[in-house]
Amino acid sequence: MNQSSDWNPPVRRAGAAPEPARRGAEPSSLADILERVLDKGIVIAGDIQINLLDIELLTIKIRLLVASVDRAKEMGIDWWEHDPSLSSGARDVLEENERLRRRVGELEDGRGAHREDDHGTQGAEREDER
């Protein structure tokens, strides 16, 4: 998530997995469920209108939450602590946090106007690389 300055992120799964293909664990991963229940499934305009269209906004806000260091540790996402290539994981996370906050601000100012560069944040590290 914050490798834009140094591009070799540590990889936990690729290459390290004893078996190349795994049957998805039950229960399914939260990311898998969210991308389906929030982004797929038939949309019917119900009586109570909730703007779920801004998935990007939503996922960024979630990410903000996850990216705050304590919270992330709580959830077991603490790989940066053990990775020597990330000299200051906490600082990176704070920078990432700051960047995401700006993005949320932009999105809230111009709702939906950014769908085109939608992947700018979700696939940030891929985009940065290109």
């Binding site: 998530m1 591009w7 070799n8 992120p9 540590p10 990889v11 936990r12 799964r13 690729a14 290459g15 997995a17 078996e19 190349p20 293909a21 795994r22 049957r23 998805g24 229960p27 399914s28 991963s29 939260l30 990311a31 898998d32 469920i33 969210l34 991308e35 389906r36 229940v37 929030l38 982004d39 797929k40 499934g41 038939i42 949309v43 019917i44 119900g46 009586d47 109570i48 909730i50 779920l52 939503l58 996922t59 806000k61 979630i62 990410r63 939450l65 996850v66 990216a67 992330a72 077991g76 996402i77 790989w79 939608d118 992947h119 979700q122 696939g123 590290e125 891929r126 690389e129 290109r130």
Partner: protein
């Protein structure tokens, strides 16, 4: 008390012959799940308190990851449970009506769409396949270190540029492999849909997710499909493949008529 409830919709299905709701399922508000029938269809629904599921309350809750996780999982659990009793059309999270009559009216009105969609996904199942790579496995061989007379600054910049180019090469190579994998998988599927790469923090992975697709596979080919994923994983040792499913057909029930809307089918990720 009745006035403070709304009807949360999970899925639409063909009305069961016995009219019985899927047993033992509880929904997003721990409420018992029931059926609202009309026009030969049934909506799988639950009554939820407006206090928690009204517009403002929902908006607040949506930013609470714990709430969202719990509720999204509950929504999915009901859809999954209903799918065990027959083909379902999953509905988007937070589809809410004021009461059951409004749900019946909606079923009536969209009857043809729903019926056609149910027919389209009948006997087929969604499988998810993700591919992860360690970018380092796709890097070109390191060039001879240029130990010329450049100033440290120039050398640094050149090194940075080389790294960036290598990075692009690695990404291209990984993406090409992912496309080959996708093509092999798509051969067993009647439809495919691409999702954006998942958020690294949320999904807790590192490296690149070069494939995150859904495949609508005939039930009879399910085993073959998962075996193919395993086989592909062996054929491409630098790529870690992960299969998830079977899923209710979340990614394949949108109306097929949004051609200008950049059909998800063709978006390689």
């Amino acid at each position: 008390m009745n006035g403070s409830l709304a009807t949360w919709l999970y899925a639409v299905t063909a009305a069961p012959e016995d009219g019985a709701p899927p047993r033992g399922l509880t929904g997003v508000a721990d409420e018992p799940v029931r059926l609202v029938e009309s026009a030969g269809l049934a909506a799988v629904v639950g009554s939820v308190p407006l206090e928690d599921f009204g517009e403002d309350a929902l908006r607040g809750h949506l930013e609470d990851l714990e709430w969202l996780e719990r509720t999204a999982r509950a929504h999915h659990r009901v859809i999954n449970g209903a799918a065990r009793h027959g083909q379902v059309i999953p509905l988007r999270f937070a589809t809410l009506y004021h009461d059951d009559d409004r749900v019946r009216a909606m079923l009536q009105e969209r009857r043809d769409d729903f019926t056609a969609t149910l027919r389209r996904v009948a006997g087929r199942t969604e499988w998810g396949v993700k591919a992860y790579v360690d970018p380092r496995s796709f890097l070109p061989d390191p060039d001879e270190p240029t130990d010329g007379e450049e100033s440290p600054g120039t050398a640094y910049l050149m090194r940075r540029r080389a790294q960036r180019q290598d990075q692009e090469t690695a990404h291209l190579r990984a993406t090409e492999r992912a496309e080959e994998i996708h093509a092999a998988l798509a051969a067993l599927a009647v439809a495919t849909a691409a999702h954006p790469p998942q958020d690294t923090a949320l999904a807790a992975y590192e490296g690149w997710m070069v494939l995150n697709n859904s495949y609508l596979v005939p039930d009879a080919l399910g085993e073959e499909f998962t075996a193919l994923v395993t086989g592909l994983g062996e054929r491409y040792p630098a790529i870690t493949l992960e299969v998830s499913g079977p899923w209710p057909p979340y990614s394949f029930t949108a109306p097929p008529k949004r051609a200008e809307d950049a059909q998800p089918e063709e978006t390689p990720s």
